[in-house]
Amino acid sequence: MPADILYVDDEPNALLALAKRGGADERFTVLTIEDLKAVEHPLPGASAWVLDFYNDEASRDDKTFAGTESTGLSLFQRLRLLAGESRPPAVLISNHLEMALGQNVTAGLRHRLAEEVGVEWVAEKSPETGDYLREILTIADATAAFQSATKALAAAPPEDYVGTLGDNLLALSPQAQWRLLAISDVDAWRPPVLRAASEETAGESLNENARPFVAWMIRQALAYPSFVISLAQVAARLKVSTQSLRACAAAENGLATALDSLKYGGVMGEFAGPRWWSAGIDDFVFSLPSASDARQAALEELAGKGELEFLNVDDAVVVSDADLVETELIAASDDCVRASDEHAPSHAPPAWVLKRDVAGDRTLARRVWLEDQSSLATDS
């Protein structure tokens, strides 16, 4: 694959070594700050910009404005001005991310931090795991995929736009009997639309529409239970524990096969962990008997006896932590209350937090929905 990722770093070797192990090093065009000064428009048509925050050893401890122009964010602003609307998604990386951003980096909230500083993603350069490389490549692949799909999206009549998006980018199966419901789900999450002006240059247009799409995937579709859901959400709908479902899904049985056919395989597929089509899971659950004991028996037949841990809860919900990030824990809705903050889009479902977690946390208590505050009071 040709070089499609612009990478600015004074110490690029760690990332490049990782990339080389996976055969992806050819994709990176490495520039230092000095190189950038000599080039007018670095790597036009790039699928991603990867910018290291500290490009000057000295500026790391400098609390003055002296080292400003060498930081990844300043470079980003400059690049943004040069590239205009057609800039690709940008990833800010650093060995000292918390120092760079000046605040704590919560793993589940990086999309928010990124948005606050204006980029699409932020990542700690952690050579041991190499997760950040996978994230970068996933983002670049998504941009490239959108580029390829622009012609089809431009040609689709408005009423088929979401369907075309589903077919070309989200790998929505044309045969799935839950296809219409899935399209309706995607539409409910308000995907960014192709701007009419860019139709003339469809295909040549450089990322003008790709970046908003990638940003939407990161900040909305994958950040909340949307048209695609996490394993914990699937487990809650099946009323089984997340751990036992994970084990079953990885084994060879009827349930694993059924779940595999409902797995999300479109762009940004494994970016935030595996996802499954919400409409697909609903369709699967609907095909099972509705009575509780018959449903359990049907699931046991698919998964093998004793493999699934059934949860005896009336209404199973996935529990979120104090930062409103989903965990793998599933609890009864009676033991939880609903909470949201100012960041969640209005069409996102609320986070469910345990009442006992709210008890010791005033900030969290303030995020609890007004309608649910009374149930906190009565139970305390």
Binding site: I229, Q233, S278, I281, S290, V317, S333, P349, E371
Partner: protein, 245 residues
């Protein structure tokens, strides 16, 4: 009989139901649904001694062509639902009034419509004190034929419950599937629990009355049933106990 109802509790149920039902109405009716929820909220916060919660124009559910049997296509049909609920309580001047009112009167009208014309109507309501028949009932023929009987006993009288019945009849498969979706589970729970408590409360009351009078058949008794429950239980089973009673 005048049931007491905690409208703040009922509001949560109405919101949940409106969220579920909004997929089964057109744009105009979706606006009307929103507006009805809003009116209920306003009524609660304004805390007047007497006020009416009613539809200005009917809510249209549908259309549907599959309401008879699986695989059978029927003529396209809509169901139009309108209602009037009159709430009242003694005039209380308190800094923080509660959300409890008596249901003075309640009636829900349903019309089935085909090709732009109504062709069947029924309504669910309380009966007047002077009339015979069960207090809570559904009547089929009073509209066109001005014929007051039969009054079929009904535990269903609240607008949301009537809408639920209509949707279950008009689009059985779609309505069921919609409720079983993962995203709907919380809304369904809210409505389900409140309905369970209402039915259980009514059934308990009927059982109690049966035990008290064994000189008449049970069907006959049901036909003159007037509930002695004090209030409409909320989704936790709690029957409201207003301070002014």
């Amino acid at each position: 009989m005048s049931l007491v109802i905690d409208l703040a509790e009922h509001l949560a149920e109405v919101k949940a139901f409106a969220s579920l039902a909004s997929d089964f109405v057109d744009k105009k009716s979706a606006i009307k649904l929103d507006s009805l929820v809003r009116t209920l909220e306003l009524g609660i916060t304004q805390a007047r001694a007497k006020w009416t919660w009613e539809t200005k124009l009917p809510i249209e559910f549908g259309p549907s062509t599959s309401y008879d049997a699986k695989g059978k296509t029927m003529p396209e049909t809509w169901a139009c639902l309108s209602f009037t609920c009159e709430f009242e309580r003694p005039d209380i001047h308190r800094r923080k009034p509660d959300a409890m009112w008596r249901i003075d009167n309640s009636s829900v009208h349903v019309k089935m419509a085909r090709e732009g014309r109504d062709f069947l109507s029924c309504h669910f309501d309380y009966k007047n004190a002077t009339q015979w028949g069960p207090q809570l009932h559904v009547q089929l023929a009073e509209g066109e034929h001005r014929f007051p009987i039969p009054r079929l006993p009904s535990g269903i009288f609240l607008p949301t419950d009537c809408a639920d019945l209509i949707l279950s009849e008009l689009m059985p498969e779609a309505w069921e599937r919609h409720q079983r979706r993962g995203q709907a589970s919380n809304d369904v729970s809210m409505v389900r629990r409140a309905q369970e408590e209402r039915v259980l409360s009514m059934v308990g009351d009927i059982k109690g009355q049966w035990a008290n009078d064994t000189r008449i058949t049970r069907v006959s008794m049901l036909q003159s049933f007037t509930p002695t429950v004090k209030g409409v239980p909320n989704h936790r089973g709690k029957i409201p106990a207003p301070s002014w009673l």
